[in-house]
Symmetry: C2
Subunit: 417 residues, 2 copies
């Protein structure tokens, strides 16, 4: 029987055990984020700004350089210190992350390196509901393989799939994506099996990822409180609160489309009545703007072309088109007011078709907000049209995967010496 | 002309200037929070757990002891180190904070010390709408003075006033509190003038403070994602997301009462039609449950007595009472479903009269949630009745003021040596 090791202090059993490795990982990430957000700087300045001591900073920088995440003038391999006055900067050209979007009629992919530079981008028409989940995942895997073959000098640290529906974040199962016709589809498992080990897969709601992309890179970047609303066949919402994505307890937040704010006689794709989606989704606009045999309602035609036709009619003063846009704009305001009253964002960002037709929607939407928002001056909110177009979700997906490196830089292995 | 001082490194003009004093304040707070959340521990263990070096920890502990915020075996005044093996623990008996609530028919006060112990508590009937803002603030100032006279050995670090309405957090102006009849009332300024310097005043929405109290001390303490709904004359919402109060960009979040989910023919106190408040506020229940001359509708009588009478009628099987409770319960579910779909909390906490009559409301509410929540199994949410009763808001207010000490322990002056 061995004698018990003396405890380090007199209060055994209280608190969490110390974990030096976790502290070290946290500090590596802190330094890496500082270099990303504030630019190159000396070890001495990093020490000042983080409150870490200089020897620790030198050792952290040496490790980050070893992993190819920073370049630092004359750091020597193996942790030796180098001249502490020379600037350290973010590198990460050898590290990349992949964003994929599955939607009703396309699949898209985009690859970013750690510096946020686009290494690969592609979009492919695909009838996902008709194809079904298995064949769709085959296509996605093929597209990912093509991207990896093209981007040979950067190793992917992760892949995020954007899906228009409810995603159980813990295991990447798409619980419900009515517009894809999917229920309980194990997207993470299916893709991981197809792609093999080495590139962790996440699955996330498309509006959440779009909100992240806007927060990370758009003209409203770093707006701490931001609501993203995307108009497609369905309506998605992504909420950034205090600079962080509001995921909620089960990753099921932002589900705005089924708020009972629509006409209670209209049946939604989800089976309920009066969902907001039935008043502001693409179908609501098209039904109000055109007869069933009008080419703008032909869903086999490219959406952007059809939206351009609607805009042209509105510009030409077509009464029915203008009325339809006004009606959708008002309804957009009704739902956006609920969001503003609840989460009080600085910016409501409109994406998807809301952005494309935004110049017709914002005025009636704002009039409705003025009636409905409880706080003065729209509680400080501005309505802004997204400029990221249809790449918002894939960009957000790549950013989420890159973030894992900032959380724990040891995920990137040291380079062979 | 003086020569420019040499810059500390070669990357002038990038990033934020270092601020050693801010780093020190942050580290003092980190140590103090560790002691509060994880209990007493040695300096050596604090160093391990924070990643700070031991000399820094000893100096931080000495400063905290000097300010009366911790006790540490044998720390000597003036920053000398003491024996580093002896445990350090939170003290703060000499530091307190005050929570005050203004509501339609009462004013309440509660004083907590840094350890969360109640030092003083009082509630006083007051017809706030009839009295008006100035006379009400006079009464509050008198009550605060009484509390300070009673709690002589603890110095208040701050006071938070809870108000049922929209509060502009930056200057503590109550923009709009329809049920008090207040608009643009400078509560912070008015109280600060009455109380004199030395005890900073904040003003905050009552539901936000109640949510903070539940998060800090209730049976659902530390639930990272929590929605608090309080039923009074109006309906208030407080949202905790990821362990932090969702304030929004202008501090105007959580305004659920005016979501257009009620009967569009019913006019709300705010002047709009169909607000959710008109379906679930206290008035909606009372109108449905009793005729105008019924004593339960006599607002000059104590609310808790009237609620007990309603509960007794329901227990006795009174049809009209049971129908009214079922109707309000369903309507409660309609609005709670919107919140669950948007922010996906783990817990929906019912406060105010919703808690008192909760055993009759939860069943119809849950039935409605099952129809309305988009995610499976209510998206992981549980409905829970608050146990803090009518002290939730004042407790939350005191906690918010105490938190400023954990953010910056140098707010508490060193004790005279």
């Amino acid at each position: 029987m061995t004698a018990p090791r003396p405890l380090p202090d007199g209060v055994a059993g209280r608190g969490v055990p110390a974990d030096q490795a976790a502290v070290r990982r946290g500090n590596l990430g802190r330094v890496l984020r500082l270099l990303r957000d504030e630019g190159p700087r000396s070890r001495a300045r990093i020490a000042e700004e983080t409150g870490l001591n200089k020897a620790t900073v030198s050792s952290l920088v040496a490790e980050l350089a070893d992993r190819g995440l920073v370049t630092a003038g004359d750091v020597h391999r193996g942790g030796s210190v180098g001249r502490p006055g020379l600037p350290v900067q973010l590198d990460g050209r050898a590290v990349c992350a992949i964003g994929v979007e599955l939607n009703v009629d396309f699949v898209a992919i985009l690859v970013l390196n750690l510096r946020g530079e686009v290494l690969f981008e592609q979009r492919m028409a695909l009838d996902v509901p008709a194809l079904g989940a298995e064949a769709t995942l085959d296509e996605v895997a093929r597209l990912v393989q093509q991207a990896r073959d093209t981007v040979r000098d950067a190793v992917p640290v992760g892949l995020t799939v954007a899906v228009p529906g409810l995603v159980r974040s813990v295991d990447g199962v798409v619980s419900l994506a009515p517009n894809l016709g999917w229920r309980d589809v194990p997207v993470l498992e299916g893709l991981a099996a197809r792609l093999g080990p080495g590139c962790p897969v996440r699955v996330e709601n498309d509006a959440n990822l779009s909100a992240i992309a806007e927060w990370a890179t758009g003209p409203e970047a770093r707006t701490p409180d931001l609501v993203y609303l995307t108009g497609e066949v369905g309506v998605g919402g992504g909420l950034i609160v205090d600079g962080r994505l509001l995921r909620g307890t089960a990753g099921l937040s932002g589900e705005v489309g089924h708020t009972p704010l629509g006409d209670p006689d209209v049946v939604c794709g989800c089976g309920r009545r009066g969902c907001w989606e039935t008043a502001v989704g693409l179908g609501a606009l098209l039904r109000a703007a055109a007869d069933p045999d009008d080419p703008v309602r032909d869903s086999t035609r490219d959406l952007e072309v059809r939206l351009a036709e609607i805009a042209a009619r509105a510009d030409a003063g077509d009464r029915r088109t203008l009325d339809a846009l006004r009606q959708v704009g008002r309804a957009l305001g009704t739902g956006a007011a609920v969001l503003i009253n609840l989460v009080n964002p600085a910016v409501v960002l409109l994406g998807g078709y809301f952005a494309v037709l935004g110049r017709f929607l914002v005025e009636p939407m704002t009039a409705e907000l003025q009636d409905r928002v409880f706080g003065p001056d729209l509680a400080g909110a501005r309505v802004v049209l997204s400029e990221l177009g249809f790449t918002a979700a894939v960009r957000g997906g790549a950013h989420v995967a890159l973030e894992t490196v900032f959380d724990d830089p040891t995920r990137v292995p040291p380079r062979a010496s």
